[in-house]
């Protein structure tokens, strides 16, 4: 199964094609979900549908490099899409009142303990296997 294959396509065209594909899949998912009465699941259904389509494409032909390049370019600026709702989150922080300390404590514990535990678990489990990924000249596989 090839993960990617090269193809010459200018970035602007790659961006347009990728956006067209994403918009088509998402809007189709919206229509399907509206028909099925699960409108709010449209984004998740779109994500799963896109993943299935791409995996089929990858299995049959291999994904073109322009697609990953375009998605990388677009994802760098993806933060723009959730700025208005993020601003609401910023305001909410000052309006949490009695819940502020509970929310902050929950965030701290539920972020740091899994982060530490998962790192230790992955460190042990990934190193039990002879992994070509870490041996194929990957210079960044140990701490600097």
């Amino acid at each position: 199964m090839k993960s990617t294959h090269s193809s010459n396509l200018p970035l602007w065209l790659a961006l347009i094609l990728t956006l067209a594909m994403v918009i088509f899949v998402r809007e189709t998912a919206v229509l399907v979900c509206q028909w099925a009465g699960i409108e709010k699941a449209a984004n998740i259904v779109g994500l799963v549908a896109m993943f299935v389509v791409l995996m089929a494409w990858r299995l049959l032909k291999g994904l073109p490099i322009w697609l990953t390049q375009a998605s990388n370019t677009l994802l760098v600026d993806s933060g723009f899409a959730f700025l208005p709702v993020s601003a609401g989150a910023g305001l909410l922080l000052f309006a949490l009142g009695d819940e502020l300390w509970g929310v902050m404590l929950t965030i701290l514990i539920s972020t740091l303990i899994p982060l530490w535990g998962l790192a230790l678990l992955a460190n042990r489990w990934l190193n039990q296997d002879t992994d070509s990924d870490s041996q194929a000249g990957n210079t960044g596989s140990t701490s600097k």
């Binding site: 494409w57 993806s78 723009f80 609401g88 909410l92 929950t106 460190n123 070509s132």
Partner: protein
Amino acid sequence: MTFDSVLTATLAAILLTLVAHVIARILARKLSWLPMVITALALVLLFLFVLQWDYNHYYSVAKPVFDHLLGYVTVLLAVPLAAMNFKGLPVKKLILIVMIASVVGALLPMSLAYLLSLSHETILAFATRSVTTPIGLSVADLIKAPLAMANLIIIVSGLVGGSLARFLFGRVDDDRAKGLALGLAAHAFGTVEAWQISHTAGRYAAFGLAVNGLVTAIWVPIFISAVAL
């Protein structure tokens, strides 16, 4: 601030958001220690304050457009996940780690929030703690959790995980493990931090972020509706 029509207000909201995003991006390039999302967020609030524009009105006119954009970003996340090269990876163990991360990432914060007697809406919002914002907001919408609270939890937890990770990784010497843990537990901020450690850590973080988002987006709404929270 008043507008002649909804269209003018929507265009003004898009422009204000775009300016904040572009300035934050330029600043983040010049000052690498500056977290771009937080800067952009602070700039939006600053602009709203300077223009005396009520947030609720700004959000109501921006929402129709940005809801579409959020949907497109969610769907776009399928690309790096589908393009991941699994050759040579211990796939079974990776799957197990992702499953543990997804379950712990949702249930641990919800249980803690319950034990600390936080409100029902806040407990629901904590279900999205370990997933990246576009997916987290879609999940929050689906489980009827408050979007702003879910977003606050996602942003603050990412910031906490990304900034404190280096202090927790004293006994971890494999960058793959560091990256994977950062992507799984601290999503986008963690992935940015992982790229600072090494390219290997960055790639594993991107994988962890996308796959955890996908897995959590599938089981959390089903779980929440099953237990009727």
